[in-house]
Amino acid sequence: MNRAAAGWCFSLPAMLLIAMFFLLPVVAALLLSFTDFDLYALADPANLRLVGLDNYRKLLTTPIFWQALGNTAWFVVLGVPLSLLASLGAALLLDSQLARFKPLLRTALFAPVVTTLVAVALVWRYLFHARYGLLNELLAHLGVGAVDWLGDPDWAMPSIVLLAVWKNFGYNMIILLAALQAIPEDLYEAARLEGAGTLGRLRHITLPLLAPTLALVGIVTVSGYFQLFTEPYVMTQGGPLQSTVSVLYYMFEQGFSYWKLGYAASVAFVLFALVLLFTALQLRLTRRLGQS
């Protein structure tokens, strides 16, 4: 067997699986979104009808879809900056020469990342409990009134953000920490000689050199936060008053509770388009900032 043939043979099994169970479904999802694929069509494909852009038209006139879009955007707008700030703060502290027990602390800060989301969402649902939850107990000690975390439509999404930040910040912390450790020590030394303080060095050396990594991490995090599903499914079932229905929650409900699969596929594609749009926008923004 020559080398080229071997290359094909070695990559073929993986390529076939990816083609069949990833690429084909992506194309099929687009096609399905132009049909009324439902429970009847699932039983007998003869019941399938082409409906053109009807699913998309219906989406745009459905208030709950707009609400799901708004809720998801709120989760992204609130969650991504908080998440990045927590990651950056933790990475800067871990990178400090003054810090002791670094490996131990790094492991502790990272631990939530590897936990099972369903399990920790249940733990947090309980921490958020209006009567027996420890969070309100903590607030009471600080002299602040109780909050009905998951029961109040204004607080439910911020509560989910809190869980998401706790669960996720460790991931970006590791990436940022690696980028921090790659900054040459001489640069800091030179700045110190010129009389720059801690904040001056942070502003003029650390943050500019960290910017490319921060931008990259930001893009990946935004697209990840758009895919909100498990937290509302486990903690609030989309409530109260549908304040935590996310785009994917809506897709799941339409697709797998009501079996309107064609319609759900159009929801999935709108999400895909949004993620693409935001990735492209962020890339352009990053490039422009990089040039100036």
Partner: protein, 273 residues
């Protein structure tokens, strides 16, 4: 600010942060050991007044937790094994074996990274229904075995293998398969461990796909079973926390044992942009 004050500020903030991240996990374990109903009192207790293993006993004796645990173990380990073989071979081929269409194929794969995986779920469900794979282990692992990320991870590592090493084996008369199995695999070992930890954790923790494809009670994985347990026993906090411990503990221990390999994967993955 003097050095002493900075020292306490930095270390104090770090320990406070670590306490905040660990607290929910420790508290989960603590509540799981409390007698039934003890956690629903005011003020909420931090530690169990008396330790009991009743909830763990109930989980395994009454709630079929053993079965779910086994399902999760089968799904996560078989996905891991298959992912190692498939992505290991493909990643090596993309790095070291020149074949027609390689570059174009690789660019197509990288573009695929932009697609949120949930887009595929609806047609995939239909496809698996046609293939008779709904409610099977195979159906649960199908999206996880061959992955673009996995191929990418192995490829980046395999690029650093010197061609002379491979050519030397070929001159000795080794077949391409033999070159792979006895020269390449030993070199790739660290990145294969990284890939294994990634796939195992991802499939063990996954929720949305198994929720869609597994509906038979006997087939559920731990996260799906836990979510349904939580909606049936809303008031039973101690039981739920015990279920959460059983679900989280295996992956937490696996991570602690292989931490170095897992963190390396994150760093490699962050370069994909």
């Amino acid at each position: 600010m003097n050095r002493r004050a900075s020292f306490w500020l930095v270390n104090g903030a770090l320990w406070l942060g670590a306490a905040a991240t660990l607290f929910p996990l420790l508290w989960m374990a603590s509540v799981s050991l409390m007698p039934g109903g003890a956690s629903s009192s005011y003020p909420p207790p931090l530690l169990p007044a008396a330790i009991t293993l009743d909830h763990y006993r109930e989980l395994f004796a009454v709630q079929h937790m053993g079965r779910y645990f086994l399902n999760s173990l089968i799904v996560a380990s078989s996905a891991t094994l298959l992912a190692l073989v498939l992505n290991g071979m493909a990643g090596y081929a993309f790095a070291k074996l020149h074949f027609r269409g390689r570059e174009a194929l690789y660019r197509l794969l990288l573009a695929g990274l932009l697609v949120p995986v949930q887009v595929t779920m609806i047609p995939l469900f239909g496809l698996l229904k046609v293939l008779g794979l709904v409610n099977t282990y195979a159906g649960a692992i199908v999206p996880a075995v061959a992955s673009i990320f996995g191929i990418f991870l192995v490829r980046q590592f395999a690029l650093s293998i010197p061609d002379e090493l491979l050519d030397a084996a070929r001159v000795d008369g080794a077949s391409e398969w033999r070159v792979f199995s006895s020269v390449v695999v030993p070199v790739l070992r660290p990145i294969l461990v990284t890939l294994a930890v990634f796939v195992f954790l991802a499939t063990w923790n996954d929720f949305m796909w198994p929720l869609i494809v597994l509906s038979d009670r006997d087939m559920l994985t731990l996260p799906v079973a836990l979510a349904s347990l939580a909606s049936e026993h809303v008031q039973d906090n101690e039981l739920m926390m015990a279920g959460a411990v059983v679900t989280v503990l295996p992956v937490l221990l696996l991570f602690l044992a292989l931490q170095r390999f897992y963190l390396r994967g994150i760093m490699a993955g962050s370069l994909k942009g």
